[in-house]
């Protein structure tokens, strides 16, 4: 119950709990608006065009316009669809993305639930998305949607394995699954980050290539988890139709997209916590502390959101069997290799 300043602020427990669960929701809402605008603007700037400029100065009100447009659309349900599952699918996917916010520490003084198996919880809840996708594909009663959903399910499951091994390695390096303690183990200057091998003597030069490759492996697998290009077969091609969210319109479609952006942030947050030191300032004690922690955390997480958007507009798509090849034949062996090397290092430390 410590590590959370709201408890100190509001003495009433029930109100404090409500405030704590609402704060990430507000953050996610604001972040989704920024992310939508960011994606549109970064996409246009990469393509040497200006993007939305008419809605507000420099297109700032564009995300609001998009949300309003989606809300006022007609909510169509196919007549032969399974109504209960069809309606539940987008919300389940969003629940999966949002539940992860329960354990993400924004600073040393704010983490909604400081549980000892934080990393494990995060990973488990991240798998919720599969259920939402398969439900959406099945309940649409459309063979293309079903095929797209099945492909997406197999893609996410295959890429969970290298991601899981990467998490395992970091846990081995830090000796704990608690996210706050993970971050505190990386305190100090930026060479104490797990990206550079965690704190230790100068001999960690030897483990540096392994941590770098582990970082890359985790980055790639998490891209596949969120269905972003180059792994966007479920929502891009999929036999020329739009995959599992073909039949959705209006608020449910908005929910799917909202869930995708929220997932992007969760993944970026996870990468910064594991490899880049979370809310630690890169200069040690200078500009450190609980309030600056929020700033550093958000900067680092947004940088990875930017990287994801950047990658989307650069790379072509992978085909399904190439995706499977990459996961099982490239990422899994390398992640095992890194796991052995790093745990050896952790043992010898």
């Amino acid at each position: 119950m410590e590590h959370n300043f709201i408890y100190n602020l509001i003495n009433n427990e029930v109100i404090a709990i409500i405030a704590i669960s609402l704060l990430p929701l507000i953050f996610v809402l604001i972040y989704a608006l920024i992310a939508i605008l960011g994606e549109l603007k970064i996409a246009s700037f990469v393509q040497e065009r200006l993007g939305p400029m008419r809605t507000g100065p420099w297109g700032i009100i564009q995300p609001v316009a998009e949300v309003v447009k989606l809300i006022q659309k007609e909510d169509i349900t196919p007549s032969a669809a399974d109504k209960k599952l069809f309606n539940m699918a987008p919300y389940i996917m969003f629940i999966g993305a949002y539940a992860a916010f329960a354990v993400i520490p924004f600073s040393s003084a704010f983490v909604p639930a400081n549980i000892n198996v934080g990393l494990f919880f995060l990973f488990a809840v991240g798998a919720f998305a599969i259920i939402g996708i398969v439900m959406g594909g099945w309940a649409s009663n459309n063979k293309y949607s079903l095929l797209g959903a099945m492909r997406s399910a197999s893609q996410i499951i295959s890429y969970e394995i290298p991601a899981g091994i990467a998490l395992l390695t970091i846990a081995a390096l830090a000796g704990t699954l608690n996210l706050q303690e993970l971050i505190e183990a990386q305190s100090g200057w930026f060479w104490n980050w797990f990206l550079f091998g965690g704190d230790g003597s100068v001999w960690k030069i030897f483990v540096l290539p392994f941590t770098f490759s582990l970082f890359l492996i985790f980055l790639v697998s998490s891209l596949a988890e969120t269905n972003r290009t180059p792994f966007d077969i479920p929502e891009g091609e999929s036999e020329i139709v739009a995959g599992y969210h073909t039949e959705y319109s209006g608020i449910k479609f908005a929910m799917f997209f909202f869930a995708e952006y929220a997932n992007m942030f969760v993944i970026s947050a996870l990468i910064t916590i594991l490899f880049l030191g979370g809310w630690n300032s890169p200069f040690g004690e200078f500009l450190g502390g609980p309030i600056w922690g929020v700033f550093w955390f958000i900067i680092k997480a947004f940088f990875f959101v930017f990287v994801q958007i950047w990658l989307r507009w650069t790379l072509p798509r992978l085909r399904v069997d190439q995706l499977m090849y990459m996961s099982w034949k490239v990422l899994v062996p390398f992640s095992f290799l890194c796991f052995f090397a790093i745990s050896l290092w952790a043992m010898l430390k």
Partner: protein, 383 residues
């Protein structure tokens, strides 16, 4: 990886149910309205039947009722992306039949416009090929460059996509004073962007993995089906009408015929056809530079245009190297002002016929890429 796929396909002794799927007339890419009826076995394509005719506009029937100059706007609208190249074989055919001698300046301007349009066409081909594969950015870079070419064409002829510029015996307008410098500017920009596209798209490993060894077209099959253009040259056949049967003044220029060499994969796959198009853009740049240096500055472009085009009785077939292949016109005349019959040998129609042959055994995700690499435009197929 395709070896593994082929083994899977042949080995399956289990009688699975084959599915017939429509890749419908509305496409998410710029190929037009083409309907493909695909028979799938799981993910593998076993049969493809193209259905065409959604863009039929009775061009040949119209041509029987128009005078010879009036047919030219209709010809523009066949392969609407490379209109300058479309008009050329037609006016060449009529000039041959009527024995009209063209001034030098006209020949040079026609050649430069045709080569610029070849670059513009290949830019669209490569851009939409990347778009089919999922790369959104090269599309915009290439379209930005294409804008410069279209600006030149707008200043010369007045239109941006459909020009109606060549006419029997010459051209309709003269070029503007700074035409030569503009062409050299464009050549410089095209070369710079092509270098970027090579790095960003063509040699990108994901793109290579998707297009290499996919849609392999053996050279003898290509000849049997009558393919021409980059589809034929991508399989290793060095056949280019500009080199083997030089028309107009092409024999004065020094350029290479680009063929596919199987650099990353097998000779004749989709990547090869794409690299042939990229290299042909470079060759066109070379031709334009040489032509601009040799072009005479003085001369009247409309001195040889006849007042009324009256073609003597007879028939002629005249073809030219379009960006997509060989476009030819077979004109039958009965001695009057209106043609008796104008029959185009449409490039994309014949190139499309090879699609069912080369897409057997590949996955449906590859089918889209194979179609993109053949580079069809429905205006020419349906006329």
């Amino acid at each position: 990886m395709s070896e593994r796929r082929r083994i899977e396909f042949e080995y399956s002794g289990v009688d699975t149910e084959r599915m017939r799927v429509n890749v419908g007339p509305q496409h998410p890419s710029t190929h037009g309205v083409l309907r493909l009826e695909v028979e799938l076995e799981g993910e593998i394509v076993t049969e493809v039947i193209p259905h065409i005719g959604y863009l039929h506009r009775c061009f040949e029937k119209h041509a029987e009722a128009m005078t010879y100059p009036q047919v030219i706007p209709y010809i523009d609208r066949m392969d609407y992306i490379s209109s300058m190249n479309n008009e050329w074989p037609y006016v060449m055919a009529i000039e041959k039949m009527c024995d009209i001698k063209i001034p030098e300046k006209v020949e040079y301007i026609r050649l430069i416009c045709a080569e610029l349009n070849r670059i513009a066409n290949h830019q669209i081909a490569v851009a939409t090929f990347g778009l089919d594969a999922g790369a959104f950015t090269p599309f915009l870079y290439l379209f930005r460059d294409r804008e410069w070419i279209l600006n030149v064409f707008e200043t010369i002829s007045g239109g941006r996509l459909l020009y109606n510029y060549y006419c029997v015996g010459g051209l309709r307008n003269d070029v503007y004073p700074t035409f030569k410098e503009d062409c050299l500017d464009i050549v410089r920009q095209v070369r710079a962007t092509n270098k970027e596209i090579m790095d960003l798209l063509v040699y990108n490993y994901i793109f290579v993995e998707r297009t290499a060894k996919v849609g392999v077209l053996p050279p003898d099959v290509a000849i049997n089906y009558g393919c021409s253009g980059p589809v034929l040259r991508g399989s290793g056949n060095a056949f280019d009408l500009r080199r083997s049967e030089p028309y107009s003044i092409y024999d004065r220029f020094d350029f290479d015929v680009q063929i596919g060499k199987g650099e990353v994969g097998i000779v004749g796959d989709s990547w090869d056809r794409n690299i042939v198009r990229m290299n042909e853009m470079e060759e066109s740049c070379k031709i334009i530079e040489q032509a601009v240096a040799q072009m005479p500055n003085t001369g009247d472009v409309s001195e040889a245009i006849p007042k009324k085009v009256r073609v003597p009785k007879g028939e002629i077939y005249c073809s030219a190297e379009n960006p997509k292949g060989e476009l030819g016109f077979y004109i039958v005349s009965d001695g009057g002002q209106k043609p008796f019959r104008v029959r185009p040998r449409a490039t994309s129609f014949i190139n499309l016929s090879v699609l069912p042959e080369i897409s057997k055994g590949y996955m449906i995700a590859d089918l889209v890429l194979i179609l993109g690499s053949i580079d069809i435009v429905l205006g020419e197929i349906d006329r």
